[in-house]
């Protein structure tokens, strides 16, 4: 009779197989139903709305959120809004992804359309807003809405278009900004140049190179210091994207086809590398925040979002550096450098609001009402005044309150800080010249890849590596696989063979593991055999 030596050890094995079978059915089983607009918003019930917001470590913005929530709750006492603040969009993105699988997404969330494209790869995760917007009672400017919400025609159409994915609208724009070129006028004049209304890339490169002139003792002629980085660009993704757009070169399209790795990109990278080599250009990730260098008189041209205008300039209300280090100069604001001054193009960016689907359509209605509240004049004007943002509704932009705010530029170095208002005016005057990049699942990765190209080239130049065609080919290949760009654009696997040969290192790895286990098994057999022979 064969006795089972270890009856207990069978149990774990059985349990494991059962669990495995059960689990594989569990993955991806959590789904919500499609959202249907209810006939009536039930004001009798209480709703708890979770709101994930981003603020730029600007205390005033937190206050504005709190005020908005308080005002909204006064209008709708049956809704309680719980806010959670983030300082980084990526963290919001990560948390949303984690919570999708457990069905615990927030109700309302401030995010980028790029990210929404990813959320939408699941079914019924994000609520489509077209129906809600057009609803006569609860839609934009609807009759039953307890506050003065803008109509859909009162939202700037360019901004609303950005929130359309696959034809439907999945988000409401919240704030908009663009990138601006902040120029140290004193330095530019000292170098013998004037500042045109629209600046070209050639101009910027030329003046930057001129700014590198040194005194006999090794300090820079322009500021008498040891440090001078004439041109710093904060967001290298935007830099490459804007350059390519202005040159009419490929980047991507709505179906997710990627054309970033083209010849124009390559020639742009060579240009950039040349200027990094002389020390005329650097980026935020390599050297530090442009505002810090700019305010300390160690930079001539700083490109940053208009939403960072409160950090730029001699009298900037917010600053990271010691007041003794700040140098006095005049700051002017211009659109980012262009290739064709008659057809300026600048990127439009800024937070948008999206609503997540829940099982209870009434809860979604409550979220929708709150999201709408964020578009009212009070919130729009208050929030946009904190930075160089622009309200997304023409209703707010044309209101007397906002126009008054703009007119008082320079009155003080705080709410009416002149650089900040100049930045807002820049976007207001250029709304037809803004563009956005196509949004699809993977557009975030593509954007990061674009930035990475410049970062890598800059880093390699600084390390005195040779930048030539071989380098560029390798760079393209590295960045493409870094961001897994081959996974998007409708790619899916066909068979193992499509993947290609296993690289040598992998084969080695598998071989080593296999060999070790052979050795281990042999060892145990030998031991077992020894034990069997007691003599």
């Amino acid at each position: 009779m064969i006795k089972l030596r270890n009856p207990g050890s069978l149990l774990p094995a059985v349990m494991m197989t059962v669990t495995a079978v059960l689990l594989s059915g569990c993955h991806g089983s959590r789904q919500t139903n499609e959202f249907v607009i209810p006939d009536e918003f039930d004001t009798g019930r209480h709703y708890d709305i979770v709101f994930w917001a981003k603020n730029d470590t600007n205390k005033t913005q937190t206050q504005i959120y709190n005020q908005a929530i308080a005002d909204f709750e006064a209008l709708y006492p049956n809704i309680t809004v719980n806010m959670r603040l983030y300082t980084d969009y990526n963290k919001i993105y990560n948390d949303v992804i984690t919570n999708i699988s457990t069905g615990t997404t927030p109700n309302v969330c401030i995010t980028y359309p790029d990210h929404i494209a990813t959320y939408m790869t699941g079914d019924n995760v994000v609520v489509p807003l077209d129906g809600l917007m057009e609803d006569p009672r609860y839609g934009l400017g609807g009759s039953e809405v307890a506050f003065d919400s803008p109509g859909s025609d009162e939202i700037v159409p360019e901004f609303l278009d950005e929130c359309r994915l696959g034809g439907s609208c999945y988000a409401l724009p919240f704030m908009r900004s663009t990138e601006a070129l902040y120029i140290n006028k004193d330095y530019v004049n000292a170098l013998g140049y004037d500042i045109p209304d629209v600046v070209t890339w050639d101009y910027v490169w030329e003046v930057s190179e001129a700014a590198l002139a040194k005194n006999n003792d090794g300090t820079y002629a322009l500021n008498g210091k040891d440090i001078m980085i004439p041109f710093i660009y904060k967001s290298t993704d935007n830099m490459l994207i804007s350059m390519l757009k202005q040159q009419g070169a490929g980047y991507s399209d709505d179906s997710g086809n990627i054309s970033l790795f083209n010849d124009t990109t390559e020639s742009d990278l060579y240009t950039i590398s040349g200027h990094v080599a002389t020390g005329a250009f650097s980026t935020f990730k390599i050297s530090g925040y442009p505002g810090n260098f700019f305010n300390a008189g160690e930079c001539v041209f700083a490109v940053d979002s208009t939403a960072g205008a409160t950090w730029m300039g001699s009298s900037a209300p917010l600053s990271d550096i010691h007041e003794n280090d700040i140098v006095n100069f005049e700051t002017v604001v211009r659109p980012i450098p262009q290739y064709d001054t008659s057809d300026p193009k600048m990127i439009s960016q800024g937070p948008s609001i999206c609503i997540f689907n829940k099982d209870d359509p009434q809860e979604v209605m409550a979220s929708w009402l709150f999201a709408q509240y964020m578009l009212t004049n009070d919130v729009q004007i208050a929030y946009s005044s904190t930075e160089g943002y622009v309200p997304v509704t023409t209703k707010a932009q044309e209101s007397s309150q906002y126009k008054d705010y703009l007119a008082r530029a320079g009155e003080d170095a705080d709410e009416h800080y002149d650089v900040k208002i100049a930045a807002a005016e820049l976007l207001l005057g250029n709304m037809q010249n803004t563009f956005t990049t196509p949004v699809f699942n993977g557009s975030t990765a593509l954007r990061n890849a674009a930035g990475q190209l410049i970062e890598n080239v800059a880093k390699s130049t600084r390390r005195h590596e040779t930048i030539d065609d071989d380098y560029m080919n390798k760079l393209y290949s590295d960045v493409e696989s870094l961001y897994k760009l081959d996974q998007y654009g409708g790619a899916s696997k066909d068979s193992q063979s499509q993947l290609g040969e296993l690289p040598v290192a992998s084969k080695l790895l598998i071989l080593c593991i296999g060999a070790s286990w052979m050795g281990i098994i042999v060892y145990f057999i030998v031991q077992f055999a020894k034990k069997k022979r007691p003599d």
Partner: protein
């Protein structure tokens, strides 16, 4: 170098050589002490620098020209650090208590008791030790959310209770207690349970205390799991607090305030360690072989 190191290098060398050896050892230890202490010195130094002067420091300075307590005040006012402290104490206490119960039994089973499948189970346990935390986190997150334990202490504690690491450590320690004691106890008719608590644990007290201290430190510094599981500030721990300071500080990363927070957060641990260090450093008692 071994020649100089062993304590048994007694009496076989001349007095001069002994002194030379001693001096070299002191220098060696001194160098390592400096290497260990320097980052802490830097941390404390930075915590006393005001934000503006820290950002304005282009060349790192070894001293502080205008020390300020501002960062410490900020650490407690910008985030409710005191409340986080209390949360962390509760979390640590409960987790450590639970853990002790679990691992003492498990280590005893492996070290002393003999039962079928013991070796396989031990290898299985060891195998579990190799699973990195980052991996199980997502599944645990789903499990805890499904059990509706988000934002509760239960949800925080349960996955953090057991670690095979400590079972292994305690088991090694239990095994070094000689068999004679066990057989002696058995002859007296003592049950396994009594033997465990009346004899084994007291003998291995230094290691048990070490395990407690290590677990306390681990709970105190734990960050990833609490951050994932709680979004209600009422349940945040001190590590969340430090991150909050880092991110929501006055400007970009408020490094001095963060350093102040870290110093404040580490002080209880340091005190704990100082109080118990004698016990920890006792080593395994040699009394076990008597009788």
């Amino acid at each position: 170098m071994y020649r100089h190191m062993s304590r048994t290098a007694i009496g076989t060398g001349t007095s001069v050589r002994k002194h030379a050896v001693r001096t070299i050892m002191y220098i060696f230890l001194g160098i390592w002490a400096v290497i260990v202490l320097f980052p802490f010195y830097w941390m404390i130094l930075t915590s006393f620098k005001s934000y503006a002067s820290y950002m304005g420091e282009h060349l790192p300075k070894f001293y502080c020209s205008d020390p300020t307590f501002r960062n410490y005040v900020d650490a407690f006012t910008q985030v409710p650090l005191a409340k986080y402290f209390i949360n962390t104490v509760v979390f640590t206490a409960l987790t450590t208590a639970l853990m002790l119960m679990v691992i003492v039994f498990a280590a005893y089973a492996f070290a002393r008791l003999d039962f079928k499948g013991k070796n396989i189970m031990f290898v299985a346990f060891l195998a579990l030790m190799m699973i990195p935390n980052e991996l199980v986190i997502i599944t645990n997150f789903v499990t805890i959310t499904d059990m509706n334990l988000r934002n509760t202490f239960t949800g925080l504690i349960l996955p953090s209770v057991t670690s095979v690491f400590y079972i292994y450590l305690l088991k090694e320690n239990f095994e070094q207690v000689p068999d004679e004691l066990y057989y002696a106890a058995k002859i007296d008719g003592t049950s396994d349970l009594r033997y465990l608590f009346k004899v084994l644990v007291p003998i291995c007290r230094p290691t048990v205390i070490t395990v407690i201290i290590l677990k306390v430190i681990e709970c105190w510094n734990s960050y990833v799991w609490p951050r994932l599981i709680t979004d209600d500030p009422n349940y945040f721990l001190v590590s969340n607090g430090i991150q909050e300071i880092r991110e929501n500080g006055f400007g970009r990363e408020n490094i001095p305030a963060m350093m102040a927070a870290v110093v404040v957060v580490s002080i209880p641990l340091v005190i704990l360690f100082l109080v118990f260090r004698n016990r920890i450093m006792e080593g395994i008692s040699r009394e076990g072989t008597k009788g």
